[in-house]
Subunit: 456 residues, 2 copies
């Protein structure tokens, strides 16, 4: 990475506490520092040094005093379907197949369009920026629209082009999806905020032929490949019954499991499969709230961690969560791992924090350099104001971040050095318009279901 | 209950949406109503009627317009240890016995005093009022101090006098604890906000002799009896090994299991035990986040519900949670029940809402009349402002309340008609003083551990 020079310094941040998550620091950057300054130069972090020294070294810069605030890397939400935010709460508490077949799929069939994706994604990004998310991953139709909206609103994104064997709103067949992905790769080359990935939907919706084409194409492109894998016991059993092997075994035979592969959900994994994932360098994206809500099963987080598998976190779509709050996901991950592993020391707060930052950063293209506050890394940061009774006393900052309610404490957010949230207010986005658009989609969705009900 | 008269009407609330949770309404009060007014008279709800009619019927009252707000009953947090809020985050991610023996018990031994309980309880109440909790239950030392602080700050409380067989900061022996409980009962007779209960700590800390005395004494007093029961598998196995029976069987033999009995945690229960609890009318207090964090096990919530057992919710103390946010507890309860019961339809959002309100109300003395918005019930209410992107679109209010992040949306809170939170600001409590007190206790706690470490 080309490091900026001192003369390019343009922002001086003086937080009360700093958590760098810097993996090269002796304590992995997990110990809160006081009296430290972060110096930004354009889109990058130029320096981290004591505030007293920063005042001398950068006399031309007026420091931004972050009173009662903790500064840390922006969060990385590595799995979701932003467009589906418009379905938030539309059909909850239903068995998985009823939910999909009677609600989500008909609604998608009738309503998903470029306009739907544009409005849903804008809403999702507004929510995520406000809660300190500086990077999100998306797997949904019309990825070119998602990329455009993300760039416009200034949030970093890993865009997983959806590849499915059957016709869908974006592609008539998988070859069209692959062609469009190639085109998108060309178009997005010079967009520093946007990282493209392949998004083959799931083992049961993408056949061997398509997966082989993805592998071949990716030998040139070297992109990440994100896929729902072993989401439920049913998926695995069904594959065993019909294909004679478990999906992970099939994916490995096809040569897909490598350090570019991201397995989302993984509620089912044998000890051998955990070893395989570790050997292949596969990253697992854990979505604990979605797994609970859809009764999908429990991801063996602590066993994966102990085997050395890199894990990061995702909220999944708002239709199965129902918020896009990675703080809550961190909390659920840390709490649930203890119960599942029957050990109150499993997935400690510091480790959960790393999943949402450092490990999330690993899920992007290598040149992104996010998830840590370190010289030369991207200036993707957020500050939290810890000035309410639920933060007191502040014995241990990492505990507070993971086990407390934190999404509402987010004060400022920067992505590539641009301040996107200031004192809890979104910059450059009109909330009233967002609210009206959401209300309008709500009306259209409700009307179509009522007319369906009337016909039935 | 003596119903107030129309002439006593003194507050007129015009929310955008109203959720009464009224069990006598055809839909159990679970359907959000628009255009309705709530009329308060002193400490009670006088009437609920259309806003147009209310303007005519109460022309002398200026309506309080609750714009973009949902009005519903205040939440009931039925299990906690408010004083322990000062331990928040002090020792996390540790195995249960290490946590207790090396951190919590030494800290309690050295620091728990009337002053500690007073300051910790004030802090807990501030947090709870701010997140819409109008009623909390407490089981901790110096219950007379907790009662005094709760009354002073105007929050409703179920105070469980702690009864333990061994010497503790409040009592040298169980007889002293029982004497003090009797005295407290006398002192609290005329306090409408304060409800007294017996709080025998747990089956393994209270012997048969003490439990018999509680049962006898309670034949006259008719109080609730709250106890940690079957919190862990170890507790049950240990009792089987040493006493030849499971704790619930022992409590039933002692005649304690009746409709006044509240079993906290209950992560272990056979099908027969669930039937027994239903027959006896025992109420179960579910603390899902604490159970997860301490790896205690999974409460069989859905099986209990299906057997007709009344369930309500508690956060437990901040040392094992780490917040006192019953919205988060509702969410965790609803999500976890689905995974544990392997059914995405288990504990739907509407049922989770009832646990935190209606069922919580049943946990108090019968004359409290809380947990529902209904004529003659206590004017214990909260309003939530649903004006942020994470609430849009608002397809289903009950889903939003349970699966969204809601603690930070609380706008106004009333207890017995007194407004305790106005536009998110605590009334009559100085936050700076609270913060300073918490910081001072933090220092004292840290110092004592450092000096212990130095000695070791």
């Amino acid at each position: 990475m080309p490091e900026p020079s001192t003369s390019q310094a343009d922002q001086l941040l003086f937080p009360q506490w700093l958590l760098t998550l810097d993996t090269q620091a002796p304590d992995q950057g997990l110990e809160p520092l006081e009296g430290q300054a972060v110096v930004l130069a354009g889109s990058q972090i130029l320096d981290i040094l004591p505030q007293t020294q920063a005042r001398v070294a950068y006399p031309h810069l007026q420091p931004q005093i972050l009173d009662q605030q903790l500064l840390l890397p922006g969060l990385h939400n590595l799995h979701g379907h932003a467009g589906m935010t418009l379905f938030r709460g539309m059909a909850d508490d239903l068995p998985l197949m009823t939910w999909l077949e009677e609600h989500i799929w008909p609604a998608e069939g009738q309503h998903v369009s470029e306009a739907f994706v544009r409005d849903g994604t804008r809403l999702a990004i507004a929510e995520m920026l406000l809660n300190g998310t500086s990077c999100f991953s998306d797997m949904y139709f019309f990825p070119e629209v998602v990329a455009e909206v993300a760039e416009e609103l200034g949030i970093r994104a890993l865009i997983c082009a959806p590849i499915i064997d059957f016709p869908n709103p974006w592609s008539a067949n998988p070859d069209e999806a692959l062609d469009k992905t190639r085109q998108l790769h060309q178009q997005l080359q010079d967009k520093p905020l946007i990282h493209l990935a392949f998004g083959p939907h799931a083992p049961y919706t993408v056949g061997d032929e398509t997966l082989n084409k993805i592998r071949e194409l990716n030998q040139k492109l070297g992109l990440k490949v994100q896929m729902h894998v072993h989401e439920t016991a049913f998926e695995v059993e069904d594959a065993e019954n019909h294909q004679g092997k478990r999906p992970l075994a099939r994916l490995d035979e096809l040569g897909l499991l490598d350090s570019n592969f991201q397995a989302v959900h993984l509620t089912q994994a044998t000890a051998e499969e955990i070893q395989l994932l570790a050997q292949r360098g596969v990253q697992v994206i854990h979505c604990p709230q979605s797994n609970l809500k859809l009764a999908s099963g429990f991801c063996p987080v602590e066993a994966l961690r102990q085997a050395g598998v890199s894990l990061c976190l995702g909220t999944d779509g708002a239709a199965s969560n129902n918020d896009l709050d990675l703080w809550a996901e961190m909390q659920t991950a840390a709490l649930l791992a203890k119960a599942v592993h029957q050990d109150a020391a499993a997935l400690p707060a510091t480790a959960a924090l790393q999943l949402a930052t450092v490990e999330g950063g690993k899920a992007l293209a290598q040149e992104a350099y996010t998830g840590q506050l370190r010289r030369g890394f991207a200036a993707d940061l957020c500050s939290l104001k810890l000035d309410t009774p639920d933060c007191w006393p502040l014995h241990q900052i990492s505990s507070q971040l993971v086990y407390g309610r934190m999404g509402d404490k987010v004060h400022h957010v920067w992505v590539t050095g641009q301040q996107r949230v200031t004192a809890g207010q979104l910059q450059g986005m009109d909330l009233k318009t967002l609210q009206d658009q959401a209300a309008s989609w709500r009306q259209r969705l409700q009307d179509s279901f009522q007319s369906q009900d009337a016909k039935a």
